[in-house]
Amino acid sequence: MLIIVSMMMAFFGALIALDRTAACQVMISRPLVVSSFIGLVFGNITYGLTLGFLIELLWIERLPVGSSLIPNETALSVVASSVVFLAGSAIGVLNREIMVFVIMLFLPVGWIFQKVDWFLRDYNSKLSSYTLRAVEKVGDKAVDSAILKGLGLSFILHFIILFVLIVFGTFLVRYLYPLLNSDILSLLGMLFYIFPVVGTAAAINSIKSVRRPIVQFTVFYILFVLITFGYNKL
């Protein structure tokens, strides 16, 4: 059962990962969307939404500008969400602590797929040189074929690696999570609240071309706190 569900999740993940750079870019690959969808599949959209929320906050300031390659948040969302629901249902735990634990454990997945993206772009460079030569021989079909090869390789690589990581991750979390003592669990519970703080700071730093964003933010924040405080007093 685990293998079949993991294959389905890896298939979905590989397909949705194409949206990140290779095709469409309608942003269905964002963690908030991916994790919510996985949550919906597993029958708990609220937890899916929360997972997406936490991952999204860590990536909010990272912009794929120009030729820069950033760690892959889509792959992390697919792996983390699938593992939370698969391992969580196996050990009978679905709470904030397991979500934070899984995200912290699988953050390096983003870097693994950054390397995959690097490899794909390198492969595409060879594909580009080949296409230039092939157009002379076979005509414009070479261009169509290059696009299919680019998409195909991206899908296959993502599918295989996601599948391995989901299966491995589920076994790992099923084994590790019950070993955590109450101190570590309460630490994970506290970390749940650190994510929005880090996300807010990251988002402020990503705002360019606005004068002193941190000062403007502070002014607005104090204003809103006073309004809310006043409202609650009334």
Partner: protein
């Protein structure tokens, strides 16, 4: 150029980055996108027309659509390969920078933040709200941009200038800052047990005036750490180690 051909170009433009590479970047994607139009303009297969569009091309994926439209018009007007190449080279960089600033740097964080506010209330509409806010301008640029590029041809630069994207960028970013402060206030309310749901916890219900300042201090210090070159992920790990040590010592 008939609309069916332009529709095919529009559909293919969604794959402009499918073979993105370090050498010539979006060259294959650009050639792939405008191929239906090239076939229409040159019914007797002209490999030169295809090949010249396999040269270096790099712009923002959405902003490439007006360029495609303009290039199709230029091909139709039988402009020389040199003229078309020089037009593409001249415009792709500035369009790329504008697209990066508007779509990646302003619209995406704004749309995400609105959706995150929805998700704090555990609204299942959050992902849809994000997709809607983000994709209306995105699809408008892809669709109307392509059409306008085809209509305006080489003058497409003027049109984009007239939209006033830089001023929109500033407005959206200011609004994002305001929403961010609102977001933190919502977090404060959740910490305070003033809300219900998965995020709610009466962690600091005894002193929420002080808590609001602690939260602000945390955000400001995290912002400082980020400016010093640390990433959000590293900061999360640092905070977890610090919290762990603090809990251990307190025990």
């Amino acid at each position: 150029m008939n609309k069916v051909v332009l529709f095919k170009v529009w559909l293919r433009s969604f794959f402009i980055q499918s073979a993105w590479n370090f050498e010539k970047m979006q060259n294959i994607g650009f050639a792939f996108s405008i191929l239906p139009a090239i076939k229409k303009i040159y019914p007797k297969k002209d490999q030169n027309a295809v090949q010249r569009h396999l040269s270096f091309f790099n712009s923002h994926p959405y902003m490439a659509s007006p360029i495609m439209g303009a290039v199709i018009r230029m091909e139709e007007e039988k402009k020389t390969g040199k003229e078309i190449e020089s037009f593409k080279t001249g415009i792709m960089g500035s369009y790329g920078a504008l697209g990066d600033s508007f779509f990646w740097g302003a619209l995406k964080p704004f749309a995400l933040l609105v959706a995150l506010l929805f998700s704090l209330r555990e609204s299942v509409w959050a992902p849809l709200v994000f997709l809607l806010i983000y994709n209306i301008p995105h699809l408008w640029m892809r669709t109307y941009g392509l059409w306008k590029g085809y209509i305006e041809g080489e003058r497409i630069g003027e049109y984009i200038k007239n939209i006033g994207m830089p001023s929109w960028i500033r407005r959206i970013r200011s609004l994002t800052l305001m929403l961010l402060s609102l977001f933190l206030v919502f977090i404060l309310l959740l910490f305070n047990g003033k809300s219900s749901g998965i995020y709610a916890e009466s962690l600091f219900s005894y002193n929420w005036g002080g808590m609001s300042l602690i939260l602000l201090a945390l955000v400001v210090s995290t912002s400082y750490l980020l400016k010093k070159g640390l990433t959000s992920v590293k900061i999360i790990y640092i905070y977890s180690i610090a919290l762990g040590l603090f809990t251990f010592i307190a025990d």
